[in-house]
């Protein structure tokens, strides 16, 4: 799931500083699950912004709407009516949602309330961790099911580097050394010998490339 967190409210307010009425668009997908942009957070942000602007003597009207998912264009049109008479839309979705809104409402000021952080999951109530580097070329079968691309702070494919100590990464005692985890797991699985193979450089073209990555499924595309 995509993990996102809300920006500082002052920064959000500044983005819509000159607006009299805004739509806050929540998302029922990942950001609901990671407790940052669902219906509840949307209402909270709306109330906080109203209060803030009232305080500053520039009252702001808000409307709220929580889409099933903002990352699907089909879920956007139900907002049409609401968008019509607002000066701006604040999206509480990840960056994907913001862009779908901007795409549909060409002449509206669409701003993000969120910082889209990573692909990961909860590690407890109120804590989340990045788990996948979205590299487009998964290596988990070679690394004991632990992602070195994102969980190793140097994305080393032939780790661990010399900074690994007591199972922790050199960058912080709070961060597990991914390669220690990989080593432990491969050892437990009796597959340590696989780690002696020199892993070739990664094909990063499948990860972050010049343009947006695309998947085209010929079997599914109509016509």
């Amino acid at each position: 799931m995509i993990i996102a967190q809300q920006k500082n409210i002052q920064d959000i307010a500044a983005m819509v500083g000159d607006c009299k009425k805004v739509l806050l668009a929540g998302c029922g997908g990942c950001v609901t699950v990671c407790l940052s942009g669902g219906e509840k957070e949307t209402e909270i942000l709306a109330a906080a912004l109203r209060l803030m602007k009232k305080q500053a003597g520039q009252p702001l009207a808000t409307v709220t709407y929580t889409a099933t998912r903002q990352c699907e264009p089909e879920f956007i049109p139900p907002m049409d009516e609401l968008v019509r008479d607002v000066d701006a839309v604040i999206s509480l979705a990840c960056g994907v949602g913001v862009q779908y809104l901007a795409e549909r409402y060409k002449d509206k000021w669409i701003v993000p309330a969120m910082d889209t952080m990573f692909a990961g999951g909860a590690t407890g109530f109120g804590s989340w961790e990045e788990k996948c580097g979205l590299c487009g070329d998964c290596v988990l079968h070679r690394t004991g099911g632990i992602c070195p691309v994102i969980r190793c702070s140097k994305s080393i494919m032939n780790g661990p580097c010399g900074g690994s100590q007591h199972g922790k990464c050199e960058i912080s005692k709070e961060v597990d050394c991914a390669w220690q985890l990989i080593y432990d797991r491969m050892k437990a699985l009796g597959r340590l010998s696989e780690l002696t193979v020199i892993q070739p450089p990664k094909d990063w073209s499948k990860a972050r490339d010049g343009g947006p990555r695309r998947i085209l499924r010929e079997d599914l595309i109509k016509g």
């Binding site: 702070s153 140097k154 994305s155 080393i156 494919m157 032939n158 780790g159 661990p160 580097c161 010399g162 900074g163 690994s164 100590q165 007591h166 199972g167 922790k168 990464c169 050199e170 960058i171 050394c177 220690q180 080593y183 432990d184 340590l192 780690l195 002696t196 020199i198 892993q199 070739p200 450089p201 990664k202 990063w204």
Partner: protein, 315 residues
């Protein structure tokens, strides 16, 4: 027999090599580099030049190498994979070779969060293992990293790597060393040794696998200026082990600096006399380059054997 560098020739001829480290400055002036090179000139066989060590921006290692070469010492260019993608690395190393550098040390590099640009974006396009492999392939098979042929003037570096016997998991450290040798590392410089006992255990395993026969291993030593420095390394630097006894010894010393130098000399002697499979020492006198000659002399490694090497002789 053609040698890739003077250092290689020295090692291959069975001499106990001495290398040191010069940290480039945080500015564009070369005088400190040149000063240190002059200072070390007669006491070491080659000097490493760090590549923006601890991720603090410094004068580039290759440019520093030019100055050092000019002063008459053979540089060992350090190249980290932190700041450059594979295109930049190759470009820089082609340049380095063209400028007369012959020794290359491949490393991951300290994470940028420790440096003075913690908000920068790291690269880590390839890792140090891959760099070792790709650079040796470049030399031996005349190929760019992508596999494309290099028609002529391929760089022919004497390639080194680092090993840290003090990082975890301990047992895996020897595997990883072997992997580096497998990838093409011809010489190895170790992390600073303070925990001699652990280092000896490491070397035992190294010898058991015959790795000391396949690459020249240079033991890393560092003179400590004070017990505080020792304590800092002990607690604040990941992947280093400093025994409490050493901290205590410095603490109790009347003149800690002298004591630090003394310890370092003892370590070198011990390594040279008692640990088999070590072909040299690498003295990392961090921001204390001036003590290196004294250490080398008192460790009985002076004068240095004279080995003739002409960089052009291979081209």
């Amino acid at each position: 027999m053609k040698y890739l560098s003077k250092l290689q020739k020295m090692l291959d001829s069975g001499h106990f090599a001495v290398t040191a480290e010069i940290g480039p400055p945080k500015h564009a002036g070369a005088h400190s580099i040149r000063h240190h090179a002059q200072l070390l000139k007669n006491h070491v066989d080659a000097t490493n030049i760090t590549d923006s060590q601890t991720a603090i921006v410094r004068l580039s290692s290759i440019a520093s190498g030019v100055h050092i070469l000019d002063c008459g010492i053979e540089p060992i260019v350090q190249m980290t994979v932190r700041d450059r993608n594979r295109i930049a690395i190759q470009a820089d190393l082609l340049g380095a070779y063209s400028l007369g550098m012959r020794n290359l040390l491949c490393l991951s590099g300290d994470h940028q969060q420790f440096g003075n640009h913690p908000t920068s974006k790291n690269v880590f396009d390839i890792d140090s293992m891959q760099l070792i492999y790709l650079m040796s392939r470049m030399r031996d098979e005349k190929k760019f990293f992508c596999g494309e042929e290099i028609k002529e003037y391929e760089p022919r570096f004497f390639i080194g790597a680092v090993a840290n016997p003090f990082a975890d998991p301990f047992e895996y450290r020897v595997d990883r060393l072997e992997k580096k040798i497998e990838a093409g590392a011809q010489f190895i410089q170790t992390q600073c040794i303070f925990d001699m006992e652990r280092f000896e255990r490491f070397m035992e395993m190294v010898r058991a696998r015959g790795l000391d026969q396949r690459a020249h291993i240079l033991a890393g030593v560092t003179p400590l200026k004070s017990w505080r420095a020792a304590k800092y390394i002990q607690t604040g630097v990941s992947g280093m082990i400093v025994p409490d006894s050493l901290v205590e010894r410095l603490k109790n010393a009347a003149d800690p600096k002298k004591e630090g130098i003394k310890v370092c000399i003892e370590q070198i002697k011990h390594i040279r006399e008692n640990i088999k499979g070590i072909h040299g020492v690498h003295v990392m006198a961090i921001a204390w380059e001036e003590v290196v000659p004294e250490i080398v002399e008192k460790a009985g490694l002076y004068p240095r054997p004279q080995v003739e090497f002409n960089p052009e002789e291979n081209d």
